[in-house]
């Protein structure tokens, strides 16, 4: 069985645009993976079809079956995390291991004052 984890510095999950996002991605797998990568992306949730955008990817070369690796992203200036009645935009980090379906996701907020923008 696979165990994946994503931990940010100081366990923060709220950030301002342009900030550095630093942390450690960890995994314990049955065997050496072919590929491990961490994606920084946003996606929408709500009534209509989902939309998404991958902003950055960090690939961990020559990954072993069990280890932790540091990651670092510079968060973009936009889009902001926001929520309204019909749609929310959510930022997240996602750790993906291939082969297989093992995935771990950590949702974060990226917005001015590190607070999700609420739409009326």
């Amino acid at each position: 069985m696979s165990t994946l984890s994503i931990a940010t510095l100081d366990n923060r999950t709220t950030f301002m645009p342009g900030e550095e996002l630093i942390g450690v991605a960890g995994w314990q797998l049955a065997e050496k993976p072919k590929c491990v990568e961490l994606r920084l992306f946003w996606f929408t949730r709500g009534k209509g079809s989902e939309d998404s955008g991958v902003v950055a990817t960090q690939t961990f070369e020559d990954a072993q079956a069990e280890e932790g690796r540091q990651f670092q992203f510079r968060l973009p200036e936009s889009p902001y995390s926001f929520s309204g009645k019909l749609i929310s935009l959510v930022w997240a980090l996602e750790l993906i291991v291939k082969p297989g379906n093992a995935v771990e996701r950590l949702e974060i907020t990226v917005a001015p004052e590190a607070r999700e923008v609420l739409l009326k």
Binding site: R45, G46, K47, E50, S83, G84, K85, S88, V90, L118
Partner: protein, 188 residues
Amino acid sequence: MRARDNPFRSERVEGLRYRPQGYSWDELWRRLEWLGYRCAIVGPEGSGKTTLLENLGEQLTREGRTVRWLRLNREQRSVPRDFSFDPGEIILADGIEQLGAVKWHLFVRRARRAGGLIITIHTRGRLPTLLECTTSPELLRELVSELVDDEPILSADALYQKHSGNLRHAMGELYELYAERETIGWSY
């Protein structure tokens, strides 16, 4: 209520698995094999045809088959010119009612080369019927109870009647009702 918290947001509704009415998944699977993977899922809008096709596609993939999707709708009413047909692939074609008689005839001729063709369509006649999707207030109640613990604002019967059995539209109305909950102070 924020969209991200709405229990009827699209990711949750689309994550609901198809519920066969009156038969088992094994029976459905045997029928699919017996039809040689060339058949139609028939039913009106919002009756679960696409959901069933997606669930079948997932199962085919788990069994090691290769599937390829063709999704037609009001914005995409033709088969792309470069859409090829491989003997090793099963084509999952959603929204075939978008093809008129001539386009359908050309498509199904080319699709003979594929390893299989499973379509969704509103009416019978173009391929042998795998299943005719039906809905009911009980089914709506069952699906809603999977998404929320509390009692929705409208009864399942009233919602079902209002939307003439279209479960997608019924879910859409529940989304909007829940979106307004905090604003107008409804409580249960």
